[in-house]
């Protein structure tokens, strides 16, 4: 009698994307780049430490986080660190207006349908994933606090040290 309820519940649970946790392989994505240039693919960045930042123009903490990520990138880019921002705005002009006020020097990919966000299984906005040189997720931050920058710096130094056999 109650079997159909169980069936619906099971379908809902099964339909959820498996959330990407530290230790998982970062899913591949291939997104159009905002502005001129080739599409951005995660596999192109293999060998570098990558910080994937899911953001949107309506995300308040992103006004603080993105300039800080830009500084972090400037600090570690010579060592093989890149930041890839994935924009989740449904309207591209909103993203462009945000970037006009808070410009960044790292590539911005466009995901207006949210497919990449769904693949990663975001639980909040903004979300950032630190991916190591072989494509394994090492850290995930949901939301943004200034202390995340210190944690990321610590983790990046750790990954760079490990790469050099320290």
């Amino acid at each position: 009698m109650q079997l159909w309820r169980f069936g619906v519940l099971l379908a809902l649970v099964a339909a959820r994307a498996h959330a990407i946790e530290p230790g998982s392989v970062a899913p591949e994505f291939n997104l159009a780049r905002l502005g001129a240039g080739q599409p951005i693919a995660l596999s192109d960045l293999r060998g570098k430490i990558v910080l994937i930042d899911f953001w949107a123009s309506w995300c308040g903490p992103c006004r603080e986080s993105m300039p800080l990520y830009d500084k972090l990138r400037a600090e570690f880019a010579p060592n093989g660190f890149e930041v890839v921002a994935i924009n989740l705005d449904e309207v591209q002009t909103d993203a462009e207006a945000f970037l006009a006020r808070h410009p960044v020097s790292y590539p911005v990919g466009l995901d207006p349908t949210g497919d990449t966000a769904k693949t990663f299984g975001l639980v909040g906005m903004p979300s950032s994933y630190l991916v190591d040189q072989v494509g394994i997720v090492r850290a995930r931050h949901t939301g943004f606090k200034a202390k995340h920058i210190d944690e990321l710096r610590h983790q990046i130094l750790g990954l760079l040290g490990a790469a050099h056999g320290l």
Partner: protein
Amino acid sequence: MGCKTLTALLAGLTLAGCTTTPVQPWERGRLARWDMQWDSDPLQTAMDEHIYFSKEGSTGRVGTAGGGCGCN
């Protein structure tokens, strides 16, 4: 399946509505717009409230229980 059971089943599935497809964290852009907030213009709201309770002679129409004591 009986007619009543079928109706109940369909009603249960359709009335569940937004609970079966919740808004994802990255889909909240439209909800974040200023005109989608409960109180999109606090200053205007405060002015409207002042006019309302002055005309009505009642205090605390919103949020608290009030009476017409005329002390506003």
